[in-house]
Symmetry: C2
Subunit: 413 residues, 2 copies
């Protein structure tokens, strides 16, 4: 049977089977509060990898593992051409949930099982990828496996990274038997379904997000230096209050985010006040700024705006404000053709759909450096993720997998 979506009956994945796979994988490292703790390259990670690769073998795949432990499950096509791939990660945060990462891998598995059930062989091979250590909580950097795949980090650097106990990535990979020797395959296209990890789809009652790209990030450390002084004897107009200046800058970060287009975001997440005493005017405040935007030019404009605000606040309050950039990820635009396919297919399948941006990093951001790439978002409860209460609805997960199924079929023709 030819994989021609125009003539195919509208195939659907098996929603129950997808859900059951997610629940079975979530049992490995399950926490009392209903979450999952399955850190990268631990024995629990091995158990998870063994379970999923077993399922993929059962679905007719050949498994290969590269030197950073990325797993590639290949389902043959009619032609020996670069495969159409789907992937994500199955390591979790220390207090993680059942869906972050796991959904992308198991949606890929469900697509293969659905094709098997329907007896469909695609022109191009299909591949399900499991990327090593996306979360980055045991070993840095985050998105390690996809980063090595895309050349963002060297293999040697990553293999030498150590956890808090001094165990290296290389030793941890060998210990769980995932220190492979395979050459990682190049992809014709890459898809990554994922829970949104944000509130947009749920708030708007939309089931499928066609992700246009990932926001660029510029992070700053800010230090405001004023003058400690007693709160009682020091009249307001004689103060050099570092917290007052910092508070104005917190509001400036929000103003800047609201004043700029292209999915602009601005957050002050950390703040430390010194000397942090009830009746002492703060002499120093350290805080962080996290700016995100889908366009590099707009992101740069936000940063320039903050620099102007900082200079103005410093002058008005008689304080020093120093901003040091500590992270600079450029924005990542996904493939417009694939994004358009996802949007169209979702509508054809009867699902509400909107375009949005990924505010967080994902393996897809690195893979996009190597091939046409796109992501499919589905809602999660309250937009909550990286939390044991992370949750998603079976029908939404199935809807995203249905879109994935047909997007892969189109790309694999």
């Amino acid at each position: 049977m030819a994989a021609n979506p125009a003539t195919l009956p509208r195939l659907r994945v098996n929603a129950d089977r997808l859900w059951n796979s997610l629940m079975r994988l979530a049992a490995i490292g399950a926490t009392e509060k209903g979450g999952v703790r399955r850190l990268a390259l631990t024995d629990l990670d091995r158990q998870g990898r063994d379970l999923v690769t077993g399922w993929l073998r059962d679905a007719g795949c050949t498994i290969s593992v590269d030197a950073i432990g990325n797993v590639f499950a290949r389902r043959p096509g009619r032609r020996d051409a670069p495969p159409v791939a789907v992937g994500s990660h199955i390591d979790t945060q220390p207090s993680g949930g059942k869906f972050d990462g796991n959904y992308g891998v198991l949606a890929g598995l469900e697509v293969l099982r659905t094709l098997d059930d329907a007896g469909i062989v695609t022109e191009r091979p299909l591949t399900v990828a499991i990327w090593t250590n996306e979360e980055g909580t045991r070993f840095t950097p985050v998105m390690m496996g996809s980063g090595v795949y895309a050349g963002a980090f060297t293999l040697e650097h990553c293999l030498g990274q150590r956890d808090l106990d001094g165990v290296s990535v290389g030793d941890a990979l060998a210990a769980i038997g995932y220190d492979g020797r395979a050459t990682a395959p190049a992809f014709a296209a890459y898809f990554e379904p994922h829970i949104e990890q944000g509130p947009v789809l749920e708030r708007e009652g939309i089931v499928v997000g066609a992700v246009e790209g990932a926001l660029g990030q510029r992070w700053f450390d800010a230090v405001v230096t004023g003058q400690d002084a007693h709160a009682g004897p020091t009249p307001i107009e004689m103060r050099r209050d570092a917290l007052l200046a910092a508070a104005e800058l917190v509001l400036e970060v929000r103003r800047i985010a609201q004043a700029h287009p292209d999915y602009a975001r601005g957050t002050v997440g950390q703040m430390r006040v010194s000397p942090n005493s009830r009746n002492v005017i703060p002499g120093r405040v350290d805080f962080t700024v996290d700016f995100r935007n889908a366009r590099a030019e707009t992101l740069d404009a936000m940063c320039a705006d903050l620099q102007r605000s900082a200079a103005d606040v410093a002058r008005r309050h008689g304080v020093d404000v120093a901003l040091t950039e500590v992270v600079h990820f450029p924005p990542c635009a996904f493939d417009p053709v694939l994004v358009g396919s996802i949007e169209r297919l979702a509508a054809e399948l009867g699902h509400s759909v909107r375009r949005l941006a990924s505010g967080a990093g994902h393996d897809a951001v690195y893979v996009a450096r190597t091939c046409p790439t796109a992501m499919i978002f589905v809602p999660c409860d309250g937009g909550i993720s990286h939390n044991e209460i992370e949750n998603a609805r079976p029908e939404h997960l199935a809807a995203g997998a249905d879109v994935l199924l047909h997007a892969m079929l189109e790309a694999a023709r």
Copy 2:
């Protein structure tokens, strides 16, 4: 010789002798950075007390010690009437300076020495008081000795208070030999000279502050509860950012302080952000508010204004704001006649003078509950106190002692 200032030659204290006394006392507990660490009821405190009471005895005083360790040095007058008193404390902050407290006691000593030199006997007796544990850093509450004297605390409560090592005030007093049995005398009037511990006099180039009273204080603990969320995936308009709400309230505290008369002050000195992670929108912020004002009605109006601001901020940001009052000291107005005398005498002695308020608490605030009271402020470098670099100029210290001398002479007629 009669103590009649109208006919007296304008007596002056001995500025060098006053300075030398301050430096000799500062040698007990001297720190490497030029400050003093002489905590209440330690052996260093005993050494300080022994030195100063020795000087007072040499000046013809009778020493008595009450049950909380307050020292009263009495110089006889022509009449056996309630004495005119001067006092302060000689315990210091852990990283304290040479002048805070010590100046008030040694200015009193210098007045007695000056009268001795001039052969003056006053109508009323004069008393120099050394109050126990003003700083409150080893034992709480602060201003313990003057508080017991004025009936603000019970003796039993204070004797039972313990330091971090479990030593009680009662045991510490006995250990240094200052667990007295004398009944504390009632005063006809009380003066307390002190360094300003603020920047007003220095900034305005004024030498003497006639202190009208001490600001009332109302302190609050504020808790802002919003919702933690990932900084990346959460659009600005869907956030319930506790830090953003707290930042607006920090600015409101300043607006309120600027909008109210009567020496209004408002400070946010402490802040704690949760979870305090760079890329997580803060879900909770705890901070403190310290409002001060010379008039109870204005202080209450400031607090009501803050409550309205908190409700408004809570509504606009979709957060909860809870304000809990943790300290409430009413304002203290000093005796208008004595304040007027100080202002007039300073001018007659050729010193620049202005009225101001004490932003901080002092022993005089408690003593004012028992008799007509006033304070005399002199400038300190940069307004800095509770710090090893605390400093003051000999001529300013002498100017304050000269005003004290003549104010006591007037009151003791």
